[in-house]
């Protein structure tokens, strides 16, 4: 498996993704999601909002690197706040 070139940070990253997918599944089994309409222009399920927040987190980081530069800490903070807002009111 040496060609996969694992590193600790990426291993942690993918573990976090996998763990959140498992968590989302468990939550789904316990409290099945209901489609609802928030500030987004279409009705979304919990999983949809989770996906949108992950995708927008990626784009926030890219835009930060492109426009601001420097450390990414603030981009991460921004992405987390945006993600929480999306999950709660999206």
């Amino acid at each position: 498996m040496s060609w996969m070139a694992w590193t600790l940070p990426t291993a942690l990253f993918f573990s976090a993704i996998a763990a959140s997918l498992v968590t989302m599944t468990l939550i789904e089994l316990r409290w099945p999601t209901v489609k609802r309409r928030g500030f987004l222009p279409m009705a979304t399920t919990r999983g949809d909002r989770f996906f949108i927040s992950l995708l927008s987190a990626a784009f926030i980081h890219l835009l930060w690197m492109l426009l601001v530069g420097g450390g990414l800490l603030w981009a991460t903070v921004l992405a987390v706040f945006w993600g929480v807002a999306l999950m709660r009111w999206g």
Binding site: W3, L29, T45, G47
Partner: protein
């Protein structure tokens, strides 16, 4: 009133002419001597010849390349249909945990540019010792043919009323019997068009096929991009090879014509 109608008719006519001209030119070149092509400009080939086709059928570089292409395309089509048919069936008949997410993920694989997967594919298949085999290309093409098949088949299967499944069950048919003897035969049009699209997309793909094949399993699309011989480019043979690669699609399309649009739209139009 009939102004616009008339107008669109002329658009259609002009468009058809636009479609025909490059095709005509390909045919005309395929039947010309290379010396004539380079030598003087002729709208109609002055001395038509079959030597370009003879060259392809007698030169192992060409006909082996056709064989290589066919072998991975057929392999890929079989794998894709084999895994996609059951998946499309359950997608069209049941809801289950993560069904929409999985369906979406399949779409992203159909749409992903092969270039993105170039690096890891090269490493994976080299590490597994499958580099330069038709199987490697066939599996790599599964990246987009499997999702394509699932999406197209799901579109067709969803249009078959679920009552049919119920009735077969009430009539005492086992599921297996129902599926292979009733369900698949009534969907043979759908399976035909899916087969066609797997074949098409695997047949036309260049980047992965080129990267994953060395000298042994070189496919036709690669040979066609490397036809520079010592005497320069042989346009006539290139055009003849073009004609031969176009033929399979054109021959099959008549049989799937009614489902073609739905196939191109990934099963999303009725």
């Amino acid at each position: 009133m009939s102004n616009l109608r008339c107008y669109s008719f002329w658009v259609l006519l002009g468009y058809c002419a636009y479609l025909v001209l490059p095709l005509y030119w390909l045919l005309s070149m395929a039947f010309s001597h290379n010396a004539d092509i380079v030598g003087q400009f002729e709208v109609v080939p002055g001395s038509p010849t079959l030597e370009n086709f003879a060259e392809i059928f007698s030169n192992p570089v060409w006909y082996e390349a056709f064989g290589n292409s066919l072998s991975y395309v057929v392999l890929n089509t079989l794998i894709s249909l084999f895994v996609a048919i059951p998946a499309a069936y359950v997608f069209s008949r049941y809801r289950f945990l993560g069904d929409r997410q999985l369906f979406f993920w399949l779409l992203t694989n159909r749409m992903a540019p092969p270039a993105v997967f170039l690096l890891p594919f090269f490493q994976i298949y080299s590490a597994m010792g499958m580099f330069d085999t038709p199987l490697a290309v066939a599996l790599a093409h599964c990246l987009f043919t499997v999702p394509l098949s699932v999406w197209i088949l799901e579109g067709f299967f969803s249009a078959v009323p679920r009552e049919l499944d119920e009735m077969a069950r009430l009539d005492g048919h086992s599921f297996w019997h129902f599926f292979t003897r009733i369900f698949l035969p009534i969907n043979r049009g759908a399976i035909g068009v899916t087969l066609f699209f797997c074949f098409m997309f695997s047949w036309v793909e260049l980047l992965l096929a080129r990267t994953l094949s060395g000298s042994e399993a070189k496919p036709i699309v690669v040979v066609m991009t490397r036809t520079v011989s010592a005497s320069g480019l042989d346009w006539g043979v290139l055009a003849a090879a073009g004609v031969l690669t176009v033929l399979p699609g054109i021959l099959v399309v008549w049989f799937v014509r009614r489902h073609l649009v739905k196939g191109f739209a990934l099963g999303r139009v009725s």
